[in-house]
């Protein structure tokens, strides 16, 4: 891996934070404390982490229904995130958005999105702002393999080429769109689809945060230098069912066990950095413990937080005037 030791520790901490956060959300959901349903990012940590480490705070990302990992990697605070998921007034969105609409514009996170394929057009817009205002920023659209079949994704690829936008399409291929495999639903090849638009594209091993980071850096450099968009087709794993209520019977137990055993990006990271002597097991353990403690505190605080003020039901529909029904 080409990361500095500092970056390796940072990458690990981010990945571990996402994992711990998701396990905690899952536990809260199992305990009935998450009002809505939620889509867990566990298994895909290396993708959000590797990509977002190639970005600055001024860069923008748009996310998906499975957005916790992207949010954390881009710098959203886990405390308000957990509060949001639990429907508290202190949440990132004051309890009005929930798991599927976490957004923090201050850190460049333009929102999770409940609409599959909703994000790529928005990323083009953020990239247009960067280009027009010459801010040097880039925009990243995270999408799933399922979203690759949504027309918005195709349109956005063409628009990004035609406008030569500093945008990166990250297709996070976890093999599944709900209960339907990408193998069945995605005809052809996602990299070739991008190439059909004349776009630079590469396939990346999403279990390797280093590989993801390198690919993202190449894409970011291209975008910042005016070289236009890139598509990264990143192969990864979804550890849980599609959402917290999905019993996931469409994969055999053997397949799921093998996945957890052999294809865990956190395990792989640990093995690689310790074998290469880049990080000590003790250092990794220390991060684990710190993260664990942080998430525990965050959960406790979220549980204890107050629900939203009922008056907020009708606020913030518009910026410039209050509107009565």
């Amino acid at each position: 891996m080409q990361m500095s030791r500092e970056d390796l520790a940072r990458a690990y901490r981010t990945m571990r934070t996402i994992r711990a956060f998701e396990l905690a959300v899952n536990a809260e959901a199992q305990a009935g404390r998450v009002p809505g349903s939620t889509h867990l990012y566990a298994g895909q940590e290396a993708v959000a982490t590797g990509v977002c480490m190639a970005l600055n705070r001024e860069d923008h990302i748009v996310s998906t229904h499975r957005g916790h990992g992207h949010s954390i990697a881009k710098g959203c605070e886990v405390g308000p995130m957990m509060a949001e998921i639990l429907g508290r007034g202190s949440g990132t969105c004051k309890g009005k958005g929930g798991s599927m609409h976490i957004a923090d514009l201050d850190v460049g996170m333009l929102g999770a999105n409940g609409i599959v394929g909703g994000g790529p057009p928005m990323a083009c817009g953020a990239a247009l702002t960067a280009k027009t205002k010459k801010t040097g920023a880039v925009a990243v659209a995270f999408s799933g393999d399922g979203a690759a079949n949504q027309g918005t994704t195709a349109e956005s690829m063409n628009l990004a080429m035609v406008w030569n936008l500093p945008v990166i399409f990250v297709i996070e291929d976890n093999g599944w769109g709900e209960a339907t495999s990408a193998e069945w639903a995605v005809a052809g090849d996602i990299v070739k689809r991008a190439e059909g638009y004349g776009m630079a594209a590469e396939r990346v091993d999403g279990l390797s945060v280093g590989d993801v980071h390198e690919a993202a850096r190449r894409a970011v450099t291209r975008a910042r230098e005016g070289g236009g968009p890139t598509l990264l087709h990143i192969e990864t794993e979804r550890f849980f069912g599609h959402f917290n209520g999905d019993v996931d019977t469409y994969r055999s137990d053997a397949t799921k066990e093998a996945q957890r055993r052999d294809r865990d990006c956190l395990n792989r990271f640990r093995a690689q950095v310790t074998e290469a002597g880049l990080m000590e097991p003790a250092a990794l353990d220390a991060i684990d413990a710190e993260v664990e403690a942080e998430i525990e505190a965050v959960v406790r605080a979220a549980r204890d937080a107050a629900p939203p003020d009922p008056a907020t039901l009708t606020t913030d529909v518009y910026v410039s005037y209050g509107y009565e029904a």
Binding site: P35, G36, S37, E84, G87, R88, G89, C93, G95, K96, G97, G98, M100, H101, N113, G114, I115, V116, G117, G146, A147, N149, Q150, G151, T152, G177, E178, A179, T180, S181, A182, E183, W184, A185, V186, D248, T249, Y250, R251, S252, A254, T255, P307, P308, P310, T312, L313, T314, V317, Y323, E324, A325
Partner: protein
């Protein structure tokens, strides 16, 4: 006859129509589920389980999963309907209609008119709607005012398991594009549902109860809340009629106007947003056609003009409830 859930009633309707007519096909995202996996086939049977078991009975030729491409497969439903199939297509949440409205609004709905009467487009678009599941702004809308606004579409909103089955069978047999909307909070509600096949005609309201003091017109899940309100009001000596139109297009204007005139006092209850909404549509009808019989303002009980919020405390306040409905009735009866 037996007690069945709303979900089971819908599933039975699909089974019976697929058995009766080989032209009926079902498709949508994960209407079976499990394709390409090494686990269970028909693993989902639809995100809400409504299509479960159809695969085993009718096979992959007639029960088709789709990629996440609503424009393509809703448009395909239109093209299939024009050419001899009777597709029943599922949009998981009606909120997703925004990515494919064109194929409904400009295509299927207009074929017959634009083509001078030559086209038949017997397709059903099923979708869940409604707030209450803590699903936030993009998975909780009602949106049927949009469909009702569009000429050429029939729009169905069953409130009971019985009507769910009978209206779905009617929808599948209808030769026009039908938008069939299922309130996600009703799937587990039970009621008496005949085992055999039957239809509930479009454009015929159900008179849920009769009472001379006021008329409540309510749709979908709000019918139950109106019934709750009616019970409270009965204790106060206020007897209301409740009309459930069951379909917004065609609309049973006759029954609505009959009771509006008889009672002279009307409350319209709906969970769609208020502006250009269903409640406004009904109120305007009555204000034009039954004005002389009116004794009080026509009150609308709807959510506020806001998106649907996530937190339970907010979402519960968003939806009309029995207390607000009863209150509106009291206001019209005291006027």
């Amino acid at each position: 006859m037996s007690e069945k859930t709303f979900r089971a009633a819908l599933n039975e309707a699909l089974h019976q129509e697929m058995a009766a007519n080989p032209d009926v096909v079902v498709f949508g995202e994960d209407v079976t589920g499990g394709l390409g996996g090494d686990g269970e086939e028909d693993a989902w049977g639809g995100a809400f389980g409504v299509t479960k078991g159809l695969l085993a009975a009718y096979g992959r030729d007639r029960v088709l999963d789709t990629p996440i491409s609503e424009s393509a497969f809703v448009g395909a439903a239109g093209g299939a309907a024009l050419t001899g199939l009777r597709p029943v297509v599922e949009i998981m949440f009606v909120d997703f209609i925004g990515v494919c409205l064109d194929q409904v609004m400009n295509q299927a709905a207009k074929f017959r008119y634009m083509f001078g009467g030559k086209a038949r487009t017997p397709m059903v678009l099923r979708a869940t709607f409604g707030a209450g599941a803590r699903s936030a702004s993009q998975h909780s809308q009602a949106l049927y005012p949009i469909f009702t606004h569009i000429p050429g579409l029939k729009v169905v909103i069953p409130a009971t398991p019985h009507d769910a089955k009978g209206l779905l069978i009617e929808a599948i047999r209808d030769d026009d594009p039908v938008i069939f909307l299922e309130n996600k909070m009703l799937y587990d509600v039970t009621g008496e549902v005949p085992d055999q096949s039957y239809t509930v005609p479009f454009g015929e309201a159900r008179v849920v109860r009769e009472g001379g003091d006021a008329t409540i017109i309510a749709f979908g899940r709000m019918v139950g809340r109106a019934e709750d309100a009616a019970k409270t009001l009965a204790k106060e000596g206020i007897d209301v009629t409740i009309v459930d139109p069951r379909t917004t297009s065609p609309l049973d204007t006759e029954t609505i106007l009959e009771f509006a005139e008889e009672t002279g006092r009307v409350v319209v209850v709906d969970e769609a947003n208020p502006r250009c909404g269903m409640a406004a549509d009904i109120a305007a009808l009555i204000a034009e056609e039954a004005f002389d019989a009116l004794k009080a303002p026509i009150l609308k009980v709807t959510p506020p003009h806001t998106p649907v919020p996530y937190a339970p405390e907010l979402e519960d306040a968003y939806l009309p409830d029995a207390a607000r409905i009863a209150d509106a009735v009291r206001r019209v009866t005291q006027h």
